[in-house]
């Protein structure tokens, strides 16, 4: 197993495509998108029950073992969620390479 950083980003569903493009630009090695996340934050309760997905969140999970890329991703995501709201968490993880 290889040490890496696990980056979890919660963002509104309509912004998922924009974030995916941003992650590609920032050199993320890949990502997993988990749709239909709900919960509560600064901007209130997100029940994920509307036809527009405006009140539906999604979660991106990125595993990255390149510290420079991690720093770029965090800065790039920070500027995006500063405008739209969202959460970005970075934690240590172990990557089971295959």
């Amino acid at each position: 197993m290889k040490p890496c950083k696990r980056i979890e980003i919660v963002i509104e569903q309509p912004l998922a495509r924009r974030l995916a493009e941003r992650l590609d630009e920032l050199g993320a090695p890949g990502y997993t998108l988990i749709p239909n996340a709900s919960g509560r934050g600064d901007r209130g309760l997100r029940r994920g029950d509307e036809v527009t997905d405006t009140f539906t969140n999604c979660m991106f999970v990125v595993a990255c073992d390149d510290d420079a890329a991690v720093a770029r991703i965090v800065e790039g995501v920070r500027s995006l969620i500063a405008r739209s709201g969202g959460v970005c968490l970075v934690s240590d993880a172990l990557w089971v390479r295959h």
Partner: protein, 335 residues
């Protein structure tokens, strides 16, 4: 007004809306699955677009119809302008621009419900009003963004927060609901009566039932938002009281309805067309605009503009607005 009010109150679509609201209030586990709700909204846009197109194929538009279309477009441009100037005194530029765009645009479901109300009262309405609805979806979004650009924080092109005009154009003019309405209308117009015969059971007989199911879902969602608002679960911007929110969400549509109704009266529009123009003026978007604004203006808090249009203005128009506007228009036409 009593009779129109009671007729409206007893209509199946409105009763299903109340059923949905009641389900949410008593915490029933009744739920319309999200993909089904999305299908129903697509169906309604498809059916109303197609029916409008078929009606348009029946004959060329006369001068009064064109005047109605121009009035609709003028309304869609004027409402966000004066709405923004009014809201800017109370809110930040982003939230004011988003609310102005929301109320400048229209609610297709309110429009569809109004057509169902007219049909159930045997009152004719022109298919070109569907074109008016499609025309009124987008301008408010662009004007709202321009107003934010003018009065909000300044960003240079290429900076974070700078507006991507291509994306804005795509989201405001080619978003799914506008695309489907316009596309269905064109298909209805091209295929005419032959197309109507082919699709008649689907867009005709099933229409009211589908509307009822969609309004059942809307009732559930609107009641939940109201409850969230009451409990302070919506994350409203600081200093924005629920009283202001409710006051604006009812008084502003009433003012817009007065402007639209006066335009309809001055243009001598028929009763059904005048009511639909008024409903378009009074309604606020909760499908097309929120989706476009999250991309074009993510700084604006959706907890403000979405519950106001969905949980306050939409039920108000359904319950009180449509029969109230109709009664006033009927009095004006009679005078």
């Amino acid at each position: 007004m009593d009779s129109l009010f009671l007729v409206n109150l007893g209509s199946p679509p409105l009763l299903f809306f109340f059923l949905g609201a009641a389900a949410a209030l008593v915490r029933s586990d009744l739920e319309i699955p999200a993909p089904v709700a999305k299908f129903l909204s697509l169906y309604l846009l498809f059916a109303i677009g197609f029916k409008g197109g078929v009606a348009l194929s029946g004959g060329a538009l006369d001068g009064r119809d064109w005047a109605g279309l121009i009035a609709a477009l003028g309304l869609a441009c004027a409402v966000p302008l004066y709405g923004f100037l009014l809201l800017r005194r109370r809110l930040g530029a982003a939230d004011a621009a988003a609310l102005a765009a929301t109320y400048g645009s229209i609610s297709a479901v309110t429009f569809v419900t109004a057509t169902s109300y007219l049909d159930s009262n045997d009152i004719d309405w022109g298919g070109h009003l569907v074109a008016a609805m499609a025309l009124m979806e987008s301008p408010a979004i662009i004007i709202g963004i321009l107003l934010y650009r003018l009065y909000g924080e300044k960003q240079r092109d290429g900076e974070e927060g700078a507006i991507d005009w291509r994306e804005l154009g795509r989201e405001s003019c080619l978003n799914g609901s506008v695309f489907l309405i316009v596309g269905s209308m064109v298909i209805g117009w091209v295929t005419g009566a032959r197309g109507m015969t082919a699709l008649s059971p689907f867009v005709g007989d099933l229409f009211t039932g589908m509307l009822c199911l969609f309004l059942l879902d809307m009732g559930i969602v609107a009641a939940r938002r109201l409850r969230d608002l009451r409990r302070g679960n919506m994350g409203l911007p600081p200093g924005t009281g629920v009283g202001f929110l409710f006051g604006f969400a009812i008084l502003f549509p009433l003012f817009n309805a007065a402007v639209a109704g006066t335009l309809g009266w001055l243009l001598a529009l028929p009763e059904g067309d005048a009511l639909l123009l008024t409903v378009l003026g009074a309604s606020a978007s909760y499908i097309a605009v929120p989706a476009a604004l999250r991309l074009a203006l993510p700084e604006a808090n959706p907890s403000l503009y979405l519950p106001m249009s969905l949980a306050v203005t939409f039920p108000f128009n359904l319950l009180v607005g449509i029969p109230l506007y109709h009664q006033i228009i009927r009095s004006l036409v009679a005078a």
